[in-house]
Symmetry: C2
Subunit: 332 residues, 2 copies
Amino acid sequence: MTWCRFSSGMPGSGNRMEFDLIEAIRARVDVARSDVALGIGDDAALLDVPANRQLVACTDTLVAGVHFPAGTAPGDIGWKALAVNLSDLAAMGAEPAWALLALTLPDADAVFVEGFATGFAELARAHGVALVGGDTTQGPLAISVTAFGWVPRDCALTRSGARVGDAVFTTGALGDAAGALKMLMGGGSAPAALSARLHRPEPRVAAGLALRGSASACIDVSDGLLADLAHVCVASKVGAEIEADALPVSPALAASFDAPTCRDLALSGGDDYELCFTAPAAREAEIVEKIAHAGCRATRIGRIVAGSGVRVLDANANEMEIAHAGWGHFSR
Amino acid sequence: MTWCRFSSGMPGSGNRMEFDLIEAIRARVDVARSDVALGIGDDAALLDVPANRQLVACTDTLVAGVHFPAGTAPGDIGWKALAVNLSDLAAMGAEPAWALLALTLPDADAVFVEGFATGFAELARAHGVALVGGDTTQGPLAISVTAFGWVPRDCALTRSGARVGDAVFTTGALGDAAGALKMLMGGGSAPAALSARLHRPEPRVAAGLALRGSASACIDVSDGLLADLAHVCVASKVGAEIEADALPVSPALAASFDAPTCRDLALSGGDDYELCFTAPAAREAEIVEKIAHAGCRATRIGRIVAGSGVRVLDANANEMEIAHAGWGHFSR
């Protein structure tokens, strides 16, 4: 990979700055792994995937003004750029290992890079992820991370395994990130418990690992529960019913919004990076215990049914009309 | 991976368009590989790395207005976004296998996407590369590709193996892409033989494979020969001398510029995506033959010496002063 493009167009004019950028990142993201035969500093990384493991790989981009508001703390951007990718690995039941970072910056802002690298590194360290290479480019602020992990052969969780009769679960609580964004977009501030969920989402890696062999399908909630569960339904050729009253809402969210708003945020808000998964209903107790062991809560929120689409039911099992909360991402 | 972010901020407002984008790309990039257990359409790709192979992975970003001028044909952008990454794999001696595509677009421009996907697919097909996932995002036009390949264990070419006494070689011809860009930036047009090198560079994958076991060090020429050979020298803790008269220049370049300009373009121009490599001088004949068998030319252009830095020598072995040609990338 080329960490050599910062001063594009004018070779020599900014090599020193670029070198500093790379060193700033390399110095902070200092996870060492014996399976990295060659990391930052060559044309590509050279990596050892363990025998009998399938490689799991994903990429997600964050764009300034789209996925985070201008003015977001650099450390939060660094954390989140990695978090959204580790969340995709978690949804596959994968064990994270390595990351590549493609960072596009308007200028060689050392303060930004230091903050970004520090936030990225905090999460990388928490999950033992080594940064093995990348690319630094001049342009409008955007970050593409590629994350790598692995699963034992044929053990990955996918979107396509949900079966009629399965129960639908979610980890953690839903709507916090969208609630925080709603308050920030309204010009106010958000309680720390909510804004932390928006700026520093915790990818549910341990929960994903715990669900191997138990969940029939899994997805991470990045675009909102209804949208993401709909992807599971399409891939699995089934429908789903969600019980509105079963949706897990945090005390901080409940204290900040009325109940209908909390419900809409939990259903349609995005960026929570919880795992939504399905499993045979009979395994509920086992799953709740496994997820608790992974440091998280699992809540049964509905069921898989024949047909297609996702319906939301009230306490009388009548279908509800749901407005799109629409706070999944920063809206320009 | 999430192909689900196009209409960020306003869920539901653009899902149909986004779906079409994904389908347009998926339909065109139709390389099927049995080592892809799960490709586009889940949270991550699931991939089988062959036994006794090391994974080689790299990422490079192209930004509109930085790496290509506004108005570049979408098909050329698609081709080049993959080519610059396959070139990094080639420099490692890796066999390419898969790619992830993170595409950031200002709007859901179906014509752009179709052209982009067609160009990307042409090169992917030529090298048997399967597109296994990615992310579509709204924002200023930029493309990050992650490319994956593999090498037999401990057979990768790296930057760090050059030894004093080795000869320095390059594949193909140098300076064509920078020559084309110089003509285009001057408001004129460039001969097809030059502009093809700028817009549709051919990654030297077969040459990289042929160099396994023969080359002591290798890098791809993306930022210009002097800059890239300097990376080899730093990594190998050696210096290098280049014979200006030995630099391979294409007939089209020689017909377009005077000799000193051709020399400067060959030394400092970027974007040619040739391989610059080192090997024991005694292996020159063997290497030239191997590279010819890979459909390419290899030219001995200098030697590795003790010390540091890269010097350019004239016909009398006197050091030349070299001005930076500075046409490595589109300059804003």
